[in-house]
């Protein structure tokens, strides 16, 4: 507990600073004259960055959901392909289903009807192709649960029904899940970059404001203002501007996200919107932008003030 005390004290001080910053006092705010260009630079950059952050966050959360869904769906779903002469096909299909019926961990198994196979091929071969005349393999759709021993089933099928090939989709499932995972990582990286750029831009705005108000700072120092007082006046002004800009950017971004295609439409780039409690996540963006602005401005202000006199 004693070891944690300095950390707790630091947290308490920072919290008090933040509270003081949030509450502020109007008289102290007035000592810094309004400077148009730095205000707009801060509001616009924070707004634009928040807008981008909403999309990066949406992408991150959506790819996370996608990766999980693909991993779950494909891990449970398998296909048995049965290539046999037409005369033996029915018998081999029955043998496979019999094996599956005896195998623990098989939740369900059913042979696809010719119409279902035709529907699967239609996007590639068109609707008019006489699928019935093609020598297509029989397909058996299989859904397993956690108890299913995939390797054991594969060996048993090889032994009992030599024409049957079990495809557990691993070959194409792994790259998809990996791709979704990397997209998610890129999303987080984009969010980090956006936070850094926001801090850098706000920091530049703070430096510009301090440079433009050098005479104000001299007067404040002359009448006995401490660096903390001067820094707080600038920090509060710029942080509140950044907060307002980020709130506006987040709002516009959230409206834009609602206009994206919904997940109900089939396709890779659908379902990028937020879902459920995920809609609360972008509301944190203005808060983080405000925090980034607070620490960036405070650091810039104190460093600039240290060079005065």
């Amino acid at each position: 507990m004693n070891r944690l005390r300095p950390l707790l004290d630091l947290l308490r001080r920072k919290l008090a600073e933040l509270m003081e910053l949030a509450l502020g006092d109007r008289a102290s705010d007035r000592v810094v004259p309004p400077t148009g260009h730095t205000v707009w630079l801060t509001v616009l950059s924070a707004g634009a960055m928040a807008f981008l952050a909403v999309f990066a966050l949406a992408l991150t959360l959506a790819t996370g959901r996608l990766a999980e869904r693909w991993a779950e769906d494909l891990a449970q779903s398998m296909t048995i392909r049965l290539a046999a002469p037409a005369a033996e096909a029915d018998a081999q299909q029955a043998a496979v289903l019999a094996v599956l019926a005896e195998t623990p961990g098989v939740a369900s198994a059913r042979a696809l009807a010719p119409e279902e196979q035709a529907a699967l091929l239609e996007p590639w071969l068109g609707p008019d192709l006489p699928v019935g005349r093609l020598p297509l393999p029989r397909l058996i759709d299989l859904v397993g649960d956690d108890d299913l021993d995939v390797d054991g089933l594969r060996l048993r099928l090889e032994g009992e029904v030599p024409g049957a090939v079990l495809d557990d989709h691993t070959r194409w499932r792994a790259p998809l899940v990996e791709a979704a995972g990397r997209l998610r990582m890129l999303g987080w990286l984009a969010l980090l970059l956006i936070a850094c750029v926001t801090a850098a831009m706000v920091s530049l705005a703070a430096k510009a404001a301090l440079a433009a108000n050098a005479e104000v700072i001299r007067v404040l120092r002359l009448v006995g203002a401490r660096d903390f007082y001067v820094a707080r006046a600038f920090t509060r002004r710029i942080t509140l501007r950044a907060l307002a800009g980020a709130a506006a950017g987040t709002g516009i971004g959230m409206v834009a996200v609602t206009l994206l295609p919904s997940a109900e439409k089939v396709g890779f780039l659908t379902g990028l919107s937020f879902s459920g409690a995920g809609w609360l996540a972008p509301l944190m963006i203005p808060l983080f932008a405000g925090l980034a602005a607070f620490f960036a401005t405070r650091r810039a202000a104190l460093r600039a003030l240290a060079r005065f006199e």
Partner: protein, 233 residues
């Protein structure tokens, strides 16, 4: 009051701007007792403003020692210096106001930065504005004031925190003779209230005119050195 009784104490103090420019000082010995009144005279470029800056901590000596209210100015942190400045009121020739604030807010600025609530000291402000004759100009902006009004507003700002010392750098430089005498009267009144006053001026007529008002000493600065350390007025 502060250790040896001097509110400002320079021992062999000097300051060099580097590059050999004017205004440098060397070997200055100057002790201002509490409640004293000093004029600082000398030709332009003699270093009067530099000496005043050493006396309120805007500059730190490059040689010797300067003690402000008993504290070595070189040893003061930035915050420590700010606290000392809250006890030393300064009136500049160019006044240095925040132009976007009205006069009353400029005058109460030292209260604000010291963490005091100007609204709670409204009576203090009212009396002070009346004392300097600016009650009717409280809501005006600095750019709307005449030279004399600016100097009086600067004096009000310098004393609103009830400082121990008031330092004025050519306070009558931009005003007519009548206003110069009025400012002198205000400074003399402050001295009678126990404030230590240090006024830099090259106006010898003003110094002579102050004789009936205050018991002051005159310091003459030439070529960066004090030549008459405290001749009686």
């Amino acid at each position: 009051m502060e250790g040896n009784g001097f509110v400002i104490d320079l021992r062999g103090a000097g300051f060099s701007y580097g590059g050999g420019g004017g205004g440098s000082l060397s070997g200055i010995d100057l002790s201002l007792p509490a409640g004293s009144f000093h004029f600082l005279t000398g030709p332009s470029g003699a270093g009067k403003t530099t000496l005043l800056k050493l006396c309120y901590g805007e500059l730190k000596p490059t040689q010797g020692q300067v003690a402000l209210l008993g504290k070595d100015s070189r040893m003061l942190s930035r915050d420590g210096l700010a606290l000392v400045r809250q006890r030393i009121g300064v009136v500049h020739q160019d006044c240095r106001f925040l132009d976007h604030l009205p006069v009353a807010e400029n005058v109460t600025l030292p209260l604000l930065v010291a963490g005091r609530d100007p609204a709670a000291e409204a009576d203090n402000l009212r009396q002070l504005m009346s004392w300097v004759g600016l009650t009717h100009r409280a809501d005006a902006y600095p750019a709307e004031l005449s030279g004399g009004e600016r100097q009086r507003a600067a004096l009000a700002r310098a004393v609103i925190t009830d400082p121990d010392v008031v330092i004025a750098d050519e306070p009558t430089g931009n005003v007519d003779w009548e206003m110069s005498q009025r400012l002198m009267t205000l400074l003399a009144e402050l001295n009678r209230l126990g404030k230590t006053i240090l006024v830099a001026t090259h106006d010898m007529a003003l110094i002579r005119a102050a004789k009936p008002l205050v018991q002051a000493r005159v310091l003459r600065l030439a070529d960066g050195q004090l030549q008459a350390a405290g001749a009686e007025l």
